[in-house]
């Protein structure tokens, strides 16, 4: 078996048993990057010397332990890895070197993982195609004329093309699940508060969740085992008991109630995706699950709600980029001009658009009509999910309304925003969700089917996802 075909568990256990060396694994993946990444452009930076040095250190350890021992992991470039660049895909952070490790990165290192490089993204994670990266777009490895999705398009395409065993992304409104669907891999957004955000460059603080991109549901569960947990450095992490998320994999799903959403009929969904959804219903039924129709009456209001809430939070979060302490330094006669010049030169158009929308929604005279109104609708959306989850233990719906689109195809911002209509409601409610590749479209792309579970019930989420994946 080739190294690329092994699971995370396989690699870690073989390296620990000295059947293969961490150095061989690292070299294999670096070679894959040399061969394929010039076309795909998944990585903004590959730490070749650091990777080989780290692999040799691991090989020299007497006591080899850790869930990710010798496993290469790609990190989206909006997370801090000490000593490496962290640009968030923006010119304003070009050349910025992270002074510390994000908590998730520290946890990966503690389990013997190897940070292979930093992956491309839409600037500050704002976008659904990686076309908003200030550096270059990433291509979809399944067909390079198409976008890989976004904003975690770099990590998704790296995993899909076999350039890294797993990757981390961040998901604010779908930025892990949507690129996972487009690249034919598994992408999970854990419950808000399950994973520390310390060291993640903030976008929408009440929505941002770090999640894994992997080839399989089992790999996803292993990654969650590594990154989950309370962190004193992020006061929004939940104090919940540690569990082994691989325990529920392979358990039968007979008798579980899975919700299908009545309102899906109101949306314009590509026929092959509806087809894959129906195939998934029948697979679940054949496995003994009970399919029950549930209603999310406020589903269609999720997108406008999100595009008020997320930019509002972003406008506050991105105020810190002023050119003084790090990043692009502008020019100006006085401090005001200096700030304006640094920010105007440093941010791209989509980021500016969102800062302006958010500032508008929070400004005097508009705050109640926009921000507060949206926060109340968000409460209604949460209520919809609460009542649905009183009847079922998971919900199934498509990850995206279409399979991948071509570069430049989405002309207006609103057109682009539409590709997240099924992931955004879940983010607003803070629920855990996973995208699993099921079926294909007529161009050969995989279709991503999304499962959602109750707050902090990733065990059920992974159990159903595993059953569907391995049917």
């Amino acid at each position: 078996m080739e190294i690329g075909d092994l699971t995370i568990k396989d690699i870690a256990s073989r390296v620990k048993r000295n059947e293969i060396s961490a150095n061989e694994v690292a070299k294999f993946y670096i070679e894959q990057i040399h061969m394929k990444d010039p076309l795909i452009n998944a990585f903004l930076y590959v730490d070749e010397d650091g990777v080989i040095k780290r692999a040799k250190e691991l090989d020299n350890l007497k006591n080899k332990k850790g869930l990710l021992f010798g496993v290469p992991i790609a990190i989206k470039d909006n997370m801090n890895v000490k000593g490496l660049q962290a640009t968030a895909g923006s010119k304003i952070l070009r050349g910025y070197i992270a002074p510390y490790d994000a908590t998730v990165v520290q946890k990966i290192k503690d389990e013997g993982g190897i940070i292979i490089g930093k992956t491309n993204l839409d600037e500050f994670a704002m976008g659904s195609s990686t076309e908003n990266s200030a550096f270059f777009p990433t291509r979809n490895p399944l067909n390079v004329e198409y976008v890989p999705g976004g904003s975690s398009g770099g990590s998704a395409s790296a995993v899909s093309a076999g350039l890294s065993k797993a990757g981390l992304g961040s998901d604010t409104g779908g930025s892990v699940r949507q690129p996972a669907a487009f690249c034919g891999v598994v992408g999970m957004k854990p419950t808000y508060g399950r994973v520390s955000r310390y060291g993640l460059i903030a976008f929408g603080s009440s929505l941002d969740v770090i999640g894994p991109l992997t080839k399989t549901v089992e790999d996803s569960a292993v990654m969650l085992n590594v990154i989950a947990g309370f962190d004193a450095k992020d006061e929004t992490t939940a104090k919940v008991e540690k569990e082994d998320f691989t325990d529920s994999l392979g358990k039968e799903i007979r008798g579980l109630k899975v919700g299908v959403i009545k309102e899906i009929a109101d949306f314009n969904v590509q026929s092959e995706i509806m087809q894959s959804l129906k195939v998934s219903y029948s697979k679940l039924e054949q496995l003994g699950a009970e399919i029950i129709e549930v209603s999310l009456p406020h589903l269609k209001y999720a997108l406008p709600t999100y595009y008020i809430v997320a930019p509002s939070e972003a406008s506050a979060n991105l105020a810190r980029f002023d050119g003084v302490r790090y990043g692009l330094e502008g020019e100006g006669e006085n401090i005001k001009e200096f700030y304006e010049d640094s920010r105007t030169k440093g941010f791209g158009s989509e980021v500016k658009r969102r800062i302006l929308i958010g500032t508008f929604a929070l400004s005097a005279g508009y705050y109640d009509a926009y921000y507060v109104k949206a926060a109340k609708v968000r409460r209604a959306i949460e209520g919809d999910f609460e009542s649905a989850f009183s009847k079922v233990s998971s919900i199934i719906l498509p990850t995206t309304p279409t399979t991948p689109f071509k570069f430049g195809e989405k002309k207006s911002p609103l057109d682009m925003y539409m590709s997240d209509i099924f992931t955004i409601p879940v983010s607003l409610a803070g629920l855990p969700a996973i995208s699993v590749p099921i079926g294909k479209d007529n161009k050969g792309f995989r279709v991503g089917i999304q499962l959602i579970a109750k707050w902090f019930d990733e065990a059920t989420l992974l159990r159903v996802a595993y059953a569907l994946e391995n049917y």
Partner: protein, 92 residues
Amino acid sequence: MIDLEKIEALSALKLKGEEKEKIIKDLEEIIEYFEILKEVDTEGLEPLIYTKGIALSLREDKVTESLDIKYIERNRKLFGNNLFRVKRIIGE
């Protein structure tokens, strides 16, 4: 409808030329799209700021390690007593 000059000033941005025109058009379109939210009856609903299971907790107030200054220096040259140099703010 929106006072772009004011919003720009609050955002510390200064748009120019084509980008400015395009962004004004986009903003108008996007803000118009928000109108649909008026349909939702939100009477009696509390605004949702943080999602379920999140009890904001404060850590104990004790001294912990801070960032290594050499990494801060790599991102911006420091002047004087570990201070950042900025444009003059007072005395204009």
